[in-house]
């Protein structure tokens, strides 16, 4: 599923709702669904705040691919890019004192895999995967 939307703060809420719907179709346990929601919220918020510097006239793309084994989420922007991905992914690295600098930490904690691809002035792509171990029948 591919969903492209304007870089508006209210679309953070909507992208989470979309993910919620996908997650409940997969019968994800509530706590795992909560974790997915936080991760997608952080990624989309990053694109809006940092990638586009709150410019509402840009676009963010959310791609969700799911199977019985895993769910992969990609959040893509064509914004300013991240010059130093390693530094950006560290805890408490934030360019704004009102923010916690925990976006990537949350994505890392709540997903099984996190990959960030970024080019300055080209944009950023965040690829996150969660394995659905709990869906296997118990013996």
């Amino acid at each position: 599923m591919v969903f492209t939307f304007s870089s508006l703060p209210e679309n953070v809420t909507i992208s989470r709702m979309l993910l919620s719907a996908v997650g409940s179709q997969l019968n994800l346990p509530i706590n795992e669904l909560e974790e997915l929601k936080v991760a997608v919220s952080e990624a989309v918020s990053n694109s809006i705040i940092h990638g586009y510097k709150n410019n509402p006239e840009a676009f963010v793309t959310l791609e969700v691919e799911s199977s019985s084994k895993k769910i992969t989420i990609q959040v893509i922007d064509t914004g300013c890019g991240i010059p130093d991905i390693k530094q950006a992914m560290q805890a408490s690295y934030s360019t704004d004192p009102e923010r916690m600098g925990l976006g990537f930490v949350f994505m890392q904690s709540f997903m099984d895999e996190l990959k960030v691809e970024s080019e300055v002035n080209q944009g950023t792509k965040v690829i996150m995967t969660k394995y659905l171990k709990n869906l296997e029948p118990s013996h």
Partner: protein
Amino acid sequence: MRKRIERQTLHVYLEGELDLHNADELKEAIDIEIDKKGIKNIVLHMEKLTFIDSSGLGVLLGRYKKLLPLGGKLKVTNVPPNIYKIMELSGLPKIIEFLPKETA
């Protein structure tokens, strides 16, 4: 969100989801009481909060930092378990006081 001032303490009752979409609204609603009414102590009631992310936690941290030099305090109460888990990961419980659960 509902606000009430009792004995110089601002009580804010959070509802629904707190993210980038409404973080500024909450920040302004609290700051106006600090700036205009000289409120220094704030209690955030979270029993009806269903979601928080780092944008929401940033508002809490920002208010904590704003109140600190004023000699004030930010406290939270009735935090649902799923919200607490996220707050714990952020380290906020180390600096913000959690009041015991209120009985209704």
